[in-house]
């Protein structure tokens, strides 16, 4: 019976090429968008190297300061002094790190110009993040405090700058100073904002005076990361930091209030989108969920309409099948099988398109060091949801038709 259904389904699909195209276009576009969006989200926020401990990592990236006259300053404004005094001193995290955001510098070697994104970090930076060292090691606490001219570079910089030469032990000029390369790590995507750089240097080489007593400022912006020993310690860290905030001294007499929070990635992102003052990730997740449902709803409405007209014009077939022994339930089953087939074909098209598009994005240098991968779990989940809607959109019209008296169906009467 299934083979018979399959034959009919394929014939019907081939007979109405426009309807089939619209159905398949709707299903595959929806799945494609879902796959692309989730791949992007996974690549940006998911736990992947070098951010493998995201589940127990908190960060302080943004702040909102209010002045006496009601003026506000917000963004990645927290000064190195603030981070050092009020964050590095926290007791509850296992490790605390502070580092700058990346900034672009130009350097030359044999009259060749190189554009490098550099980042000033402490040694704890490499404890929290799991960089894959292809060669050498990260710099130590001692290297940072005693201002040793050592740097870590990424794979791409090794290939471009050293061009086949040995990188480890070799020197490289950055911001007018010579540094010895002590480690080479795998490239990290620019979308991973906290670890990303081409070159990492000890923060003691930063041009920003780290000990200047001010709450905000410091080019190019600074942030802190905190690693909890266990995920369950996160609330305690947040609480300790909030207690710490209550003790903040306002040195320059300009600012009267500071608002910031130790947040997970999703919470920080949610706050940046102004979805939640407190950095609660729930509104972000709710919005993502609603968007996903809306994405799914469009092809469903489209499918219901197409199925209705498709099934209505097959009323004679329904009449024949009923006359020869098909029950209403069997007919509903037949149309559902047809819908499942078209959904699966749409899913296969989406999968092929997604693999192709992600490969094109990865191989182009549009986004530095990006490596989008297809999330099969997400693909599978999207397919299940699509199948559900496919079933839903098929069941209603089929149910409507299957309730007809066989004689009315044979006459082609749909009501």
């Amino acid at each position: 019976m299934l083979i018979n259904y399959l034959k009919i389904a394929i014939k019907v699909l081939l007979r109405h090429k426009l309807f089939t195209f619209i159905s398949l276009f709707g299903i595959s576009l929806t799945l494609l968008i879902l796959i692309m969006v989730t791949s992007l989200l996974d690549h940006t926020f998911g736990s992947q190297p070098p951010e493998l401990k995201l589940d127990r990592t908190l960060s302080i990236t943004m702040g909102l300061l209010t002045s006496k006259d009601g003026g506000q300053s917000n963004g990645p404004v927290m000064s190195p002094y603030f981070l050092k005094k009020y964050v590095k001193s926290l007791k509850t995290p296992e490790v605390v790190s502070m580092s700058s955001f990346h900034n672009r510098v130009i350097t030359y070697k044999n009259r060749t110009k190189f554009r490098l994104d550099i980042k000033y970090t402490d040694s704890e930076f490499f404890e929290i993040l799991d960089f894959n060292f292809l060669e050498g090691n990260p710099y130590s606490l001692n290297d940072v405090s005693s201002r040793r001219n050592v740097i870590v570079i990424n794979q791409n910089t090794r290939e471009q700058y050293f061009d086949g030469e040995e990188a480890i032990g070799n020197t490289m000029e950055v911001e007018g100073e010579k540094f010895r390369v002590i480690g080479v790590v795998e490239n990290c995507s620019i979308l991973r904002i906290m670890p990303y750089a081409d070159v990492w240097l000890p923060l003691t080489f930063s041009k920003t005076p780290l000990d200047e007593v001010t709450l905000i400022g410091g080019f190019p912006g600074w942030f802190a990361m905190m690693l909890a020993t266990d995920e369950s310690d996160i609330p305690a860290i947040k609480k300790e930091f909030q207690n710490q905030l209550a003790l903040v001294e306002y040195p320059d007499d300009k600012w009267v209030e500071i608002k910031t929070a130790a947040s997970t990635y999703a919470e920080a992102f949610s706050r940046n989108l102004r979805l939640s003052e407190e950095g609660n990730a729930k509104p972000l997740l709710i919005i993502l969920f609603i968007l996903m449902i809306l994405f799914m709803l469009l092809p469903t409405i489209n499918l219901v309409n197409i199925n209705l007209s498709r099934i209505m014009e097959r009323s004679s077939e329904i009449g024949v099948r009923k006359a020869f022994g098909a029950s209403s339930l069997t007919l509903v089953g037949q149309f559902v099988v047809e819908n499942v087939i078209i959904t699966l074909i749409g899913g296969a098209i989406a999968l092929i398109l997604a693999i192709g598009i992600l490969e094109i994005i990865n191989s182009s240098s549009l986004i530095p060091y990006v490596n989008f991968s297809l999330n099969y779990r997400i693909f599978f989940n999207s397919l299940v949801i699509c199948l559900f809607f496919g079933l839903f959109s098929g069941v209603y019209p089929a149910f409507k038709m299957s309730r007809l008296q066989p004689v009315d169906a044979l006459r082609g009467e749909s009501s």
């Binding site: 099948r321 020869f324 339930l329």
Partner: protein, 221 residues
């Protein structure tokens, strides 16, 4: 085999009420071949559809093989149609997307049966109607007479005890019509299949054992 008692069928719309059948009483015996005649719109097809459980009467009792069908569920009615009744329609009602042999297999799809057994029975049925050379063709590739023979093969493939034929020769020329009548006669004589045929054709009706005449929804004989 089939008993209709005080059957009435009324079609109601918001404005009008049309009586299609009025106080119809009929008993058809096993193995009988009878025809229903009457002018267009007199209720012949309605009567046939009620006998075949394709439509429900507004009043009255339908019995198939001594069973009252009024309270049967959709599934039980479907099973009864599948096991007992084969239909032949004037406009064939073949599924154009399926090949001849797949069309003939349709009644067997709703029985628990292997694919190979289905195929074997379908080919045997096509052989009986002389169409074994066209099993892979599609309905659109056949003449009217050939299509009706496919429809008959579909009607007999499940060995039903009753065949209900609604103007089976209505769309065919006299030669083709005679061929179809031969097949029906053979089925009735050799396999004792009960056949009820709606027709306008006095000559064809005269070949059957009994003629029921309808006028304005009522039996006149």
């Amino acid at each position: 085999m089939i008993r209709l008692s005080t059957i009435e069928k009324v079609y109601r719309t918001a404005k009008i009420e049309t009586i299609a059948l009025k106080d119809v009483n009929l008993h058809i015996k096993r193995g009988e071949f009878l025809s229903i005649m009457g002018p267009s719109g007199c209720g012949k097809s309605t009567m046939l559809n009620i006998m075949g459980l394709l439509d429900q009467p507004s009043q009255g009792v339908v019995e198939i093989d001594s069973e009252h069908v009024a309270k049967f569920s959709d599934r039980k009615l479907a099973r009864l149609r599948n096991a007992m009744i084969g239909f032949v329609f004037q406009s064939y009602h073949l599924i154009n997307d399926l090949s001849v042999v797949d069309n003939v297999e349709i009644p067997l799809l709703y029985r628990s049966m292997s694919g190979s057994s289905r195929r074997k029975l379908a080919l045997e049925a096509l052989d009986k109607v002389g169409l074994n050379a066209r099993t892979r063709h599609f309905p659109s590739q056949l003449s009217g007479g050939q299509r009706q023979r496919v429809a008959i093969a579909r009607a007999i493939v499940g060995s039903p005890q009753i065949i209900l034929a609604d103007e089976p020769t209505g769309n065919l020329d006299s030669v083709m019509g005679a061929e179809i009548m031969d097949i029906l006669n053979k089925l009735n004589q050799e396999e004792q299949t009960t056949i009820v045929m709606v027709t306008h054709d006095e000559i064809l009706a005269s070949q059957t054992q009994r003629i029921i005449r309808l006028f304005d929804g009522s039996q006149v004989n």
